[in-house]
């Protein structure tokens, strides 16, 4: 071992570094304290000259920032963030978040998967399948692993057919497609009911085209936020952008069950509302607008916009061939059903007092510059297929669309706070797309049930066809991307599915939950070990990252594994991967575009010379762009310099507002914004999950506030009296980073419980709490807070499951142990609609996550 070298500082090579980290791993397995390579490496490196290299931060985190690694002799000594230009609010640096700053802890973590591993009791055909997730691991060679995997794929295909192979959709899936196909899955993970609804009603199908750009937002007088938390869920600049809006004088109102840090920053006026009740609340707002609008004395409603640009608002504007009584306005007023959707009605459901609902409606005053913003969280709920349509309706009623300082739409994920087309873009890698001959595809909410029960509702792989029940018999689960077992609803069922099939394989950088419940795990490289690539996020910049280190241990890329399996399955790898990784990367560079100063035309981004092409040894043509290849590589970022009044601004729906006839909406049957959408109603009702109306109506969610009662009339509470939401937590990007000790130390991941509920249950800060839903049980340490609405529990999203097989209780606080597979509407994963019971746990208290042993298997 190179310990002596390490201590004496005699030499610091990448090899000794890896050996040292492996050695530290062995001695570390229980305490697992953070970086295994601290002081020694830093001291040794001090004095030696290193190099700053742009390092990928590639996760689905809602942000995108510049990270750089200081590399000395192949070892990363420390990191930094964007310092490529002076920082200003108009032209901000792309500063990394807390997770990005811990990226090297992840890449060089003691818990990296190092070698192909096999489950000890695995045999062809399964072999003690119930031991998946608990068995010991045995190291095997790449050849042994690949041969066994190819053997099982062949066997299953021969004995059954391609409809028994289930895969996630990474590079290996391409090979499986060439091998006759595989069963896939689809879902509405991020956008919930914004996935399909906006696409057919004439609203904004893209998350980035519904609101104005960040500089225009500074013109707003009022910003109303429905479930937004960029401080956590759009790390990077969005919270900073909103701070500029505040500094420019805007006032903020927040509608949310949780007074989060974004609202704390913006000193928002908080209107606590129950989860999954935004529809009811907004109907109460619509009623109030109708009730209080007086075109002369109190003009609240933009009747002109409603008339010219929308369909179905009232009886007069209903499309032909429909019953005029089915219009939105009469539903709201209760003209025919006898139930006025007034503030009092909405208050009972949403928990917002009637006068606060009226206050909210008045704040949307059409004569003020108002932004009505929503995240996706409120629609990542059951039975809210009409919610996006209702947002559109409210925006149309109040006229906050298509004008500077007015907007109504999505502010979420990487486009939070900043609407508009991408100003800069990488090119395509020019890999061919491969068609999957098998058309079977599970909706995420039924995926595990389909595998366990052998039948499912087929709707055409996110084509929203009329549903049809199909039999299916899955024998193989192949995970070559994503974190499905951890990240999709109903993990308990998922584990059952993983223990049922003949064979489970996972690629992984760590022993993720997918990997943990597999027969074979194959160690894959991180982006730091690859040749380089592009990352996109907000519209103004694109990041080009470079290789930081050689592949760790025996790690290989997903693509390499796919090629190797292809060979063993008798398929020419070149069909899927005709060009190598370097050419793929170069194609993206050559095809990258930026926007001309005129704000319109797209031009090449990177200047390429014959010399560049020769040096890279790739195919390509020289071109004139805005930045030289070397400079780009060194900087790692291409960012548009913005200033007020430039041509890069964006006003959502401006053309449509100004000229609804000449510039109709491309994505609705009528070309208008459809407050009554026959297509929406028919499509959803045909899918076979649950029914909706063509206009926005309140439908009690399967697991919503109403379901917390045994008897709604007498308000007697049922067995699951609490609602649960899953805030996207800053320790992680979904499930990623959850294993990083620095982040575990920094972000302890408690469960948030309101002071009032805690009092009733006799809970105090630090108590271990047992949460029980119809779908599973999980434990977490309590944080008692006044920032949660009573009746609502906040269980952070993405924590790794840690199942106690004896009690059947998860000690890891995994959200999807609690959230069940409930299919409604467009097949939405209704994560923020979950109900549960809560009690003080009488067993052993949890230890902090940072003190738990890491998942280290070699």
């Amino acid at each position: 071992m190179d310990f002596i070298d390490r201590i004496t500082g005699a030499k610091l090579s990448r090899r000794s570094f890896i050996l040292a980290s492996a050695a530290a791993t062995a001695g570390l397995s229980l305490t697992g304290c953070g970086s295994s390579l601290t002081q020694a490496t830093a001291d040794q490196a001090a004095g030696k000259e290193g190099q700053w290299i742009t390092a990928a931060c590639w996760h689905n985190c809602g942000g995108r920032c510049l990270n750089k690694a200081y590399v000395v002799d192949g070892v990363v000594i420390r990191q930094k963030t964007d310092d490529t230009h002076p920082d200003s609010p108009d032209y901000p640096q792309q500063r990394a978040c807390v997770r990005g700053r811990a990226q090297r802890q992840q890449v060089f973590g003691a818990d990296r998967l190092k070698y192909p591993m096999k489950r000890k009791n695995w045999e062809p055909g399964g072999g003690k399948k119930e031991l998946r997730g608990q068995d010991e691991w045995v190291r095997v060679s790449w050849d042994e692993a690949l041969d066994a995997i190819a053997g099982e794929i062949k066997r299953i295909k021969t004995e059954k057919d391609n409809r028994s192979l289930f895969a996630d959709g990474g590079p290996v899936s391409k090979v499986l497609a060439l091998y006759g196909g595989y069963v896939s899955h689809w879902g509405t993970t991020s956008r919930g009911n914004w996935t399909y609804t906006p696409d057919v009603i004439g609203y904004s199908p893209e998350s980035n085209s519904g609101i104005n750009d960040r500089l225009d937002m500074r013109n707003c007088e009022t910003v109303i936020m429905f479930g937004l938390n960029p401080a956590w869920s759009s790390a990077g600049n969005p919270a900073y952008n909103f701070l500029q809006v505040k500094k420019a004088g805007a006032e903020f109102i927040a509608v949310d069950p949780y007074y989060n840090d974004t609202y704390g920053l913006l000193e928002a006026d908080w209107i606590p509302c129950r989860p999954v009740t935004d529809t009811a609340l907004l109907l109460g707002v619509a009623y109030t607008l109708l009730e209080e609008d007086d075109p002369i004395h109190n003009p609240l409603i933009d009747w002109e916009f409603l008339k010219k640009n929308t369909l179905g608002f009232d009886a007069e504007s209903m499309p032909e061939g429909t019953n005029p009584q089915d219009n939105f306005k009469d539903y709201v007023l209760g003209t025919y059903d006898g139930v006025p959707k007034n503030a009092e009605w909405a208050a009972e459901i949403s928990g917002v007092a009637p006068d606060r609902i009226r206050y909210l409606a008045r704040a949307m005053n059409k004569n003020k510059k108002v932004a009505i913003l929503t995240g996706w969280a409120s629609a990542r709920t059951q039975n809210t297929d009409n919610l996006p349509q209702l947002f559109m309706t409210i925006g149309a009623m109040t006229g906050h669309m298509g004008k500077s300082g007015h907007m109504c739409g999505i502010s979420c994920h990487s486009r939070s706070s900043n609407g508009g087309d991408m100003l800069v873009k990488p090119g395509s890698n020019k890999l061919p797309s491969i068609k999957n001959p098998v058309d079977d595809s599970f909706n995420d909410t039924e995926m595990w049930r389909a595998i366990v029960d052998g039948k499912y509702n087929w709707t055409g792989d996110q084509k929203y066809y009329k549903g049809e029940t199909r039999d299916i018999d899955i024998r193989l689960i192949y995970h070559d991307s994503g974190a499905a077992l951890q990240s999709r609803d109903g993990m308990t069922k998922g584990i059952e599915a993983h223990r049922k099939v003949d064979f489970v394989v996972s690629h992984g950088q760590f022993l993720t939950t997918n990997a943990k419940y597999s027969d074979f795990v194959l160690p894959v490289t991180t982006e730091w070990e690859k040749i380089g690539g592009f990352l996109t996020g907000n519209r103004e910049m694109v990041i080009m990252y470079s290789q930081i280190t050689e592949p760790m241990y025996e790690c290989q890329s997903d693509e390499w594994i796919a090629r190797e399996l292809a060979k063993r399955l008798g398929i020419d790898p070149a069909q899927a991967f005709p060009i190598d990784a370097k050419q793929q990367f170069f194609n993206q560079i050559a095809g990258a575009t930026t926007t001309h100063e005129d704000g319109k035309s797209k031009i090449p981004m990177v200047t390429l010379t014959e010399a560049d092409i020769a040096e890279w040894g790739v195919q390509g043509k020289p071109q004139e762009g805005r930045i030289g290849l070397k400079e780009f590589q060194e900087k790692g970022i291409f960012q548009i310099e913005r200033k007020p009044g430039d041509n890069y601004g964006f006003i959502a729906f401006k053309e449509f507002r100004d000229d609804p006839v000449g510039k109709p909406r491309p994505n609705s049957a009528s070309g208008k914004m459809e407050i009554y959408s026959q297509v929406l109603g028919d499509t959803i009702n045909n899918l076979g999950y649950s029914k909706i109306k063509p206009i926005p109506t309140h439908i009690p969610p399967v697991e919503g506030y109403e379901a917390t009662f045994k008897d709604w009339q007498t308000k007697a509470k049922g067995d699951y009296p609490y609602q649960v939401i899953n805030p996207h937590y800053l320790r992680r990007s979904h499930t990623v980073f959850d294993n990083v000790q620095w982040l575990r130390e920094t972000w302890p991941n408690p469960v948030y419980i309101s002071t009032q509920d805690a009092k009733e249950k006799g809970l105090a800060d630090g108590d271990t709490v047992l949460l029980t839903s119809q779908h599973g049980k999980t434990l977490r340490t309590a944080c008692i807070t006044d920032r949660f609405m009573p009746g609502v529990i906040g269980l952070p999203h993405g924590s790794w499951v840690d199942m106690d097989e004896k009690t059947g209780i998860d000690t890891g606080g995994a959200d999807n142990i609690l959230c069940g597979p409930v299919s409604t509407g467009q097949g939405v994963s209704g994560w923020n609609s979950c109900i549960c019971n809560m009690e003080k746990y009488t067993g052993a208290s949890l230890i902090p996550d940072v003190e738990k042993p890491q998942r280290i298997i070699f």
């Binding site: 700053r101 790390a235 900073y240 807070t785």
Partner: protein
């Protein structure tokens, strides 16, 4: 003339993301358990009008540092530019500084048998760069510089808060733009 560098913390811009905390760990290669810059969350008020503020703290490089005064080895010492630095060759790990600093800054590190603490990223400052935590903050809530300049620039800042020890003991080189709720008592520390 002696100079005195200091930190400015704009609490009104801070979202408690703890990027400063982790970037500092990265710069100083700190293991789990050792934290030089630490962010804590505090709640105020009660539902439905709660408040939240964060406090990002590190060594204040005090003008009258009690840690320096009490250190028996002179391992802790004040530099010309005001930085309170720690000399590893001198420190015997008596931990007295962990009792004498009113801000709990020095941290004993078992493996080294010594304490350690923020040195204001002295090495970077000498190269004309900012301390890492300052350049890391995504909200631009941290500033660093000559204390007098910071004072002149941020007239509305304070050096004392109910949650902090009285500043007269050590005269911290620290300026805080405080949220109003942080100026009142009745705050509760919370995990986030």
């Amino acid at each position: 003339m002696m100079s005195q560098y200091g930190f400015y913390f704009d609490m009104t811009s801070c979202i408690g993301c703890r990027t400063c905390q982790v970037s500092c760990k990265d710069k100083n290669d700190l293991k789990v358990g050792t934290i030089f810059r630490r962010v804590k969350a505090f709640e105020t008020g009660s539902y439905p009008q709660p408040g939240i503020f964060h406090y990002s703290s590190t060594c204040n490089h005090c003008e009258s540092p009690k840690c320096v005064e009490g250190c028996p080895t002179q391992a802790l010492h004040k530099l010309e530019n005001g930085i309170v630095d720690h000399d590893k060759t001198k420190c015997i790990g008596c931990r007295y500084c962990t009792w004498s600093c009113p801000y709990g800054v020095p941290q004993f590190i078992e493996e080294l048998g010594q304490i350690s603490k923020c040195n204001m990223c002295k090495d970077l400052i000498e190269k004309g760069e900012n301390p890492v935590c300052v350049d890391a903050c995504p909200m631009r809530a941290l500033e660093w510089g000559e204390l007098e300049d910071l004072k002149a620039k941020h007239g509305d800042s304070v050096s004392e808060l109910p949650l902090l020890p009285v500043s007269s003991v050590t005269k911290p080189a620290l300026l805080i733009k405080a949220k109003n709720i942080a100026k009142q008592k009745g705050f509760r520390e919370k995990e986030i």
